[in-house]
Symmetry: C2
Subunit: 202 residues, 2 copies
């Protein structure tokens, strides 16, 4: 398999070159540790083992790196969101979506905090149209057609609960599968979802 082909198969975004993907990946790791504003291009370059100029050859600005990194991560959720919308509103679609959101949150727990709470990312989500649409879609899917105050507060709580729990010190030592199973169970309970199967995450 050619490197280009391998990139196509594994890359998070088809329109990124292999070098760009590598750059966005290490940038995202650094963002998770130090925040976007706490991560300089020098740090990214050092981590890649190249100079700043080389990084600027991949992306014209630092903001472009942030956009690529966030897109890379959100793309993982899009398939789940597509499926949920296709199945339409209802407990089954919501349950399937939650299962995938939880698995993703557990698997990518180091990055969740940055995506949900970093001020620089928040600005991006608010300004970039594609991101706006994505956030809208996710909220809509989580609400499942409901609009009551109770439903909105519940949706807000559950989104934050999942995102925040995976990085919480209290669950730091837990096995990822156990954590995912527990999160799914508690989430179902909280949302009055019947719950199906064992709740295993695989």
């Amino acid at each position: 398999m050619s490197p280009a082909r391998a990139d196509r198969d594994r890359a998070d975004l088809g329109r990124l070159t292999e070098a760009q993907t590598r750059t966005a990946r290490v940038a995202l790791e650094l963002f998770a540790s130090h925040g976007v504003n706490g991560t300089s291009l020098q740090m990214i370059a050092d981590e890649l083992g190249v100079t700043k100029a080389a990084v600027y050859h991949q992306f014209r600005t630092k903001e472009a790196i942030v956009v690529a990194a966030v897109e890379m991560e959100l793309t993982r959720l899009e398939a789940a969101l597509d499926a949920a919308e296709a199945t339409g509103p209802g407990p089954q679609a919501l349950d399937a979506l939650l299962r995938q959101v939880i698995d993703l949150a557990v698997a990518r727990h180091r990055l969740v905090g940055t995506l949900q709470h970093d001020p620089a990312v928040a600005r991006l989500l608010a300004e970039h149209e594609p991101f706006q649409r994505f956030v809208q879609r996710l909220s809509h899917a989580l609400l499942g057609g409901k609009r009551s105050i109770e439903a909105r507060v519940r949706a807000a709580m559950i989104g934050s609960a999942i995102g925040g729990a995976v990085t919480h010190p209290l669950v730091a030592g837990l096995d990822p599968d156990v954590l995912a199973a527990q999160l799914l169970r508690q989430t179902r309970r909280f949302l009055d979802l019947p719950g199906r199967g064992t709740g295993a995450s695989g």
Copy 2:
């Protein structure tokens, strides 16, 4: 009432001068908007209407400002924590603690994200002893003596749910009292707490 006396009564920390309190207050507001790393001393000085040098007269380093700002905010929770520990483990102590945590989170919702998720603040909480103790106490009180995996996941979820919900776009327009009442109700439900009274926040 003399200015010094007014400061004593209203200040969040007795050992801060009036000028220091003002500085920490505007700094915290800026931290909430731009993150700690995204807030420069120039921005703080501009907001205060003075020069950087004047700010450096109040605090020797930027970190000292962050420490003071975080202390100021956490102090608000200490009384509630003291009471919870005095009452000892149990549903009543936990319920009272949650009620105060929720009211505080709603009232100070713009700052909650910074305190819970800003990388610079997280570093501080991990390194400064008094902060470590505080976080330990809060976790312990939320667990209420339990140590099971289920209890730990629940505690992690509820802490993040409250903190994250108050800043969530989905509840942006809600009346603070309504939001607090809903949060308390949902939290009690999630934790299997009996719930008492109306859930009103006053």
